[in-house]
């Protein structure tokens, strides 16, 4: 006997499709979660209208992190843009660097050395691990399981050490530069990386036992916030959110870039994209990234040039053209649309962050009829990073 909630008090739809919410009737309560709210992924806000314990309408408010990157880049030279692009998305900045660099290289007709491709792939996979580790902690934290966040942040710090060794910075690496990468791997990097990977694997084993096999976690996460496969196209859903619904939508496989054609892997998929499956897909994707890093470190050439010769970057002009470069980041399809007009500055840069559709259109749809307790977990499970929405 399934429990049927009584929804007779819920607001009716008006003629123009919006809900007829009469706050004065006392049946509904308006709740703001954010921007100052610990359950929100970063600096954004959701405006909920609740009836009883369930949400009848949710609206996402973004723009709190807007710095106007796309405008700022229009008044910076191509090389000056390179250090600011990584600031667009904080938890996984390398994709900005890669997509921007690749777009510039394509329009300027630069050939990037083979080794640089391998190092770029390595960096991107390392960034993906960081991002997923952060997510796992956040997802468990949204259900009140703080200890997972402690463990994953601990191993994330180890991965940041590897980043620091390679690029000199913990968060903003500024390593993938148009024309290649800044440097080759340091001496003995592979061995230290292996130690880190083993540590992460062992922690993930703990996480699997404590989080994924936990009865309470299953009770909270299974069957909540299901994304039906037919929503994928209409809402522009990509990445693990789509893969959890059973569609193997992975740019690394679909339209391979960098050295992914030479690596041996299968896209991770799940069934029924609920919170639990999405978390599980991300955990397995994390294991896949560990495997990919091992493959890269074995297969990559050991020496060679990492940088192609650039023209004088102070007077670098790129002929008129437009292109779109995409990559599979931890949240889905990340892309840069770059338009040049023959001058020394980009005419227009548009960043396509996967959170853009996930956290606005998709979230507003999924949150309807969700329990208030599940709203934070639902938002986290879509793995949204606000800075890439508003840039």
């Amino acid at each position: 006997m399934a429990y049927q909630p009584d929804r007779s008090q819920y607001p009716q739809k008006k003629a123009d499709g919006t809900l007829d919410i009469d706050l004065a009737s006392g049946k509904y309560l308006k709740l703001w979660q954010g921007p100052q709210h610990p359950g929100i992924t970063g600096n954004m806000a959701i405006e909920l209208t609740v009836c009883g314990d369930e949400v009848v309408e949710g609206k996402t408010h973004v723009g709190y992190l807007h710095r106007g990157f796309e405008k700022l880049m229009e008044r910076r030279t191509f090389m000056q843009c390179f250090p600011i692009v990584c600031r667009i998305c904080v938890p996984e900045p390398d994709f900005n660097e890669y997509c921007y660099a690749a777009a510039v290289e394509e329009l300027a007709g630069l050939e990037v050395p083979e080794l640089a491709h391998w190092i770029r792939t390595l960096i991107l996979e390392m960034g993906r691990i960081n991002s997923y580790l952060m997510y796992l902690g956040g997802q468990a934290g949204a259900f009140g399981q703080g200890v997972i966040g402690q463990w994953t942040t601990y191993v994330r710090d180890l991965m940041l050490d590897r980043f620091e060794e390679l690029t000199g910075a913990r968060i903003y690496h500024m390593f993938i530069i148009p024309g290649g990468v800044r440097d080759n791997l340091p001496e003995g990097f592979a061995a230290r990386m292996e130690t880190t990977l083993q540590e992460i694997e062992s922690t993930l084993g703990d996480v699997e036992r404590v989080m994924f096999h936990n009865a309470v976690f299953k009770k909270r996460a299974v069957g909540v916030g299901i994304i039906a496969p037919e929503l994928l196209d209409s809402y522009g859903i990509t990445g693990p959110n789509a893969r959890a619904a059973g569609v193997a939508k992975d740019v690394r496989k679909d339209q391979p870039y960098l050295v992914y054609p030479e690596l041996d892997f299968e896209a991770v998929t799940g069934k029924d994209s609920d919170i639990y499956t999405r978390a599980d897909v991300r955990r397995r994707d994390l294991l896949l990234s560990i495997d990919l890093i091992r493959q890269i470190l074995v297969k990559m050439p050991k020496s060679g040039a990492v940088m192609t010769k650039l023209p004088n970057v102070l007077h670098w002009k790129i002929p008129r053209g437009e292109t779109y470069i995409r990559g599979e980041c931890s949240r889905g399809e990340y892309g840069y649309y770059l338009v040049t007009d023959g001058s020394g500055y980009p005419r227009r840069v548009n960043v396509r962050g996967p959170s853009y559709t996930h956290s606005i259109a998709l979230f507003e749809r999924l949150v309807v009829n969700a329990n208030i307790s599940d709203v934070a977990a639902l938002l986290v499970s879509l793995h949204t990073y606000p800075p890439e929405i508003e840039r």
């Binding site: 921007p35 100052q36 709210h37 610990p38 970063g42 600096n43 723009g63 709190y64 992190l65 807007h66 710095r67 106007g68 405008k71 700022l72 008044r75 250090p83 600011i84 600031r87 904080v90 938890p91 952060m134 902690g137 966040g149 402690q150 942040t153 601990y154 994330r156 710090d157 940041l160 913990r170 968060i171 903003y172 800075p387």
Partner: protein, 213 residues
């Protein structure tokens, strides 16, 4: 009956006048006041020591610096050792860490949150973007100098500052508090007009009370 408990007419931020009955509903248009240390010096010293050893950070990640707050609270850096915790509500927090650039839209929320905190309260600006705009010096949507809008006790430079820098910064803040120099809330009350004028000059659609606690 005390005068402040009698019925009175007030003018709301939207210009509408309405009657307030203080015994039944609570409305206050009074601005912040300077809070003097009311006790003898030794007690104030003791309190200052307690304040410095128990810093509760407001859980509001206003910018990208927030990403280093999590490592700060986890095994590698473990700021709990120094009496630093985060609190989810401004009422219980003492320290507002402005973690990076502030867009004007966030600034509005930051002011509201700051004014709801109880004095003494401290503000730490993180990253070069709170100091002089940093990378976003020519952006139309981010402020450049945080101390124009809120009284800042301490800046931690960097883009972004490492957790070690944060810990060192907090140690410096503790020294300031112990020395009785971290009186940002009083500074805000004394120069209230100036701060409000600055805030209103960048927030073009000011649609909230002048002071909301």
């Amino acid at each position: 009956m005390k005068e402040e408990l009698l019925k009175r007419m007030v003018k709301g931020p939207d210009g509408v006048e309405f009657e307030v009955e203080p015994l039944r509903d609570y409305y206050c248009e009074a601005g912040p006041t300077v809070q003097t240390p009311a006790y003898t010096a030794i007690i104030e010293k003791l309190f200052n020591w307690a304040r410095s050893e128990s810093i509760w950070i407001l859980g509001f990640g206003t910018g990208c610096g927030a990403i280093e707050m999590r490592p700060l609270m986890t095994p590698r850096f473990d700021a709990y050792r120094y009496g630093i915790q985060w609190r989810p509500t401004p009422r219980q927090a003492n320290l507002f860490v402005i973690s990076g650039y502030l867009s004007t839209k966030t600034l509005k929320r930051v002011i509201r949150s700051y004014e709801q905190m109880q004095s003494p309260k401290y503000v730490v600006g993180l990253g070069s973007c709170t100091i002089n705009g940093g990378m976003y010096w020519d952006s139309y949507n981010t402020i450049k100098r945080l101390d124009d809008y809120l009284p800042v006790d301490l800046y931690i430079a960097g883009c972004m500052p490492r957790p070690e820098a944060l810990l060192a910064g907090f140690e410096d803040l503790k020294k300031l508090i112990r020395a009785g120099k971290a009186e940002g809330a009083n500074q805000y009350a004394e120069n209230f007009e100036w701060y409000k004028a600055n805030q209103k000059s960048v927030i073009h659609d000011w649609d909230m009370p002048d002071y909301n606690w």
